[in-house]
């Protein structure tokens, strides 16, 4: 073998080549592993979060505004009914860090977050004093006002909200409750016209919104 010195060189070269290809394969393996995401899981989580805050979603009062009662009533069945993720995926919905719904055992998974407003409308009643004046300005904005007209005290002919006639009967409005939609962007000022109006002739119920900002977190573990 004295004459085969370059055979050794060749073997050395081949060993080097093998090493390089092995390293290349390992690096490629790592790159492939690094590039592995869960796109379907993420898509499901995004879709579910979007449905939850959508204007026509099960929770929303309007876009990105959630109704607190509906948030409290949300259950696994309702989340499943949205059909946003496959049946065997586990889902957790959190509002401000507090788990509202969880199906199965969520470990890890993909989380998406949405900023939303949770609104709680708590109806309040007020009996405006109508002795010597005919206007009342409600303290808070509200989308609607329920005007309850008592059968006894006086006769209400016209009710105006911010100058616009919302209820009118020249013979006097019949006793009962009338629901009036008002702009929720201005403070409603109601004025009453009629005969012998006194305090207690009308009772107003309105629903001011108590809102808080929350982070809606949806985690999907497929």
């Amino acid at each position: 073998m004295r004459g085969q010195a370059n055979l050794l060189a060749l073997v050395a070269a081949l060993v080097a080549l093998t090493t390089v290809s092995t390293v290349a394969v390992v690096v490629a393996d790592g790159a492939l592993e690094d590039a592995t995401r869960e796109p379907i899981e993420r898509q499901g989580a995004n879709a579910l979060a979007d449905r939850l805050v959508a204007a026509d979603g099960p929770l929303a009062a309007r876009e990105n505004v959630l109704n607190e009662t509906r948030v409290d009533d949300l259950d696994a069945e309702a989340v499943r009914a949205l059909d946003a993720v496959s049946r065997d995926a586990d889902v957790r919905v959190r509002v401000d860090g507090e788990t509202v719904v969880q199906t199965g055992d969520v470990a890890g998974g993909t989380t998406v977050r949405r900023v939303a407003l949770v609104v709680d409308r708590d109806p309040r009643s007020v009996t405006p004093g109508l002795d010597g004046r005919d206007r009342v300005t409600l303290p808070r904005r509200t989308p609607w006002v329920a005007v309850a007209i008592a059968p006894s005290a006086g006769e209400v002919e016209t009710v105006r909200a911010n100058g616009r006639v919302v209820l009118h009967d020249p013979d006097g409005l019949a006793a009962g409750e009338y629901r009036v939609n008002v702009s929720r962007r201005t403070t409603p000022a109601l004025s009453f016209a009629g005969d012998d109006l006194a305090t207690g002739a009308v009772e107003l119920t309105y629903a001011p919104a108590d809102s808080r900002k929350v982070v809606l977190e949806v985690t999907v573990d497929a």
């Binding site: 004459g3 055979l7 898509q43 026509d56």
Partner: protein, 186 residues
């Protein structure tokens, strides 16, 4: 290469190449020196052929198909996810825009082209909408996918299918029953 002063060197190939003719050994011993390079090159050639064969069989036998499969899996996942996202985004929100959804005045026509890979692992595939789900139908079952679509209640049904080579278009139309989401290939 060969050292002429070394007596053992010419003797080694002689003993191998002509063991049956010991009488001609001294004569061949001198002429034999040229064989050393031939043997050397042949060995090198054999070694290289072995190496290349080993490398090719390793790569094509295991590493490459595995990589192609995992890449195809990832592409199938991403294609399905992006088509589903586009489908969900293509449906307009008809709630809470000031018009009641049942009075029949809203007419919606959406057409949106999608960019999808032509092939997944060199095979053409189909995208299909059925029963509220998006189905990616690949000849190899391992790369087929099905994801549910979260669509608003205003969507009455989803239908249609497209092949991967075509221009894939999402069409959303108003009908009497509600919105219809369709996949079309053009």
């Amino acid at each position: 290469m060969t050292n002429p002063t070394d007596p053992t060197d010419p003797a080694a190939p002689t003993a191998q190449t002509a063991p049956s003719a010991p009488t001609g050994a001294p004569a061949l011993g001198r002429d034999d020196r040229a064989l050393s390079t031939v043997v050397g090159k042949t060995l090198e050639l054999g070694l290289l052929a072995l190496f290349v064969g080993l490398l090719v069989s390793t790569f094509y036998g295991g590493v490459l198909p595995e990589y192609r499969a995992s890449a195809a899996n990832a592409v199938a996942d991403r294609t399905t996810a992006s088509v589903a996202t586009e489908l969900e985004a293509a449906v307009p929100s008809t709630g809470g825009v000031g018009v009641a959804s049942d009075d029949g005045v809203q007419s919606v026509v959406v057409e949106q082209e999608l960019d999808v890979p032509r092939t997944i692992r060199t095979d053409a595939y189909r995208l299909r909408l059925e029963a509220g789900s998006l189905v990616l139908d690949h000849p190899v079952d391992e790369f087929s996918r099905r994801v549910p679509l979260a669509l608003p209640d205003s969507v009455a049904r989803v239908e249609g299918e497209a092949r991967s080579g075509e221009t894939v278009v999402i069409v959303v139309e108003s009908t009497a029953d509600g919105l219809v989401v369709r996949l079309e290939g053009r």
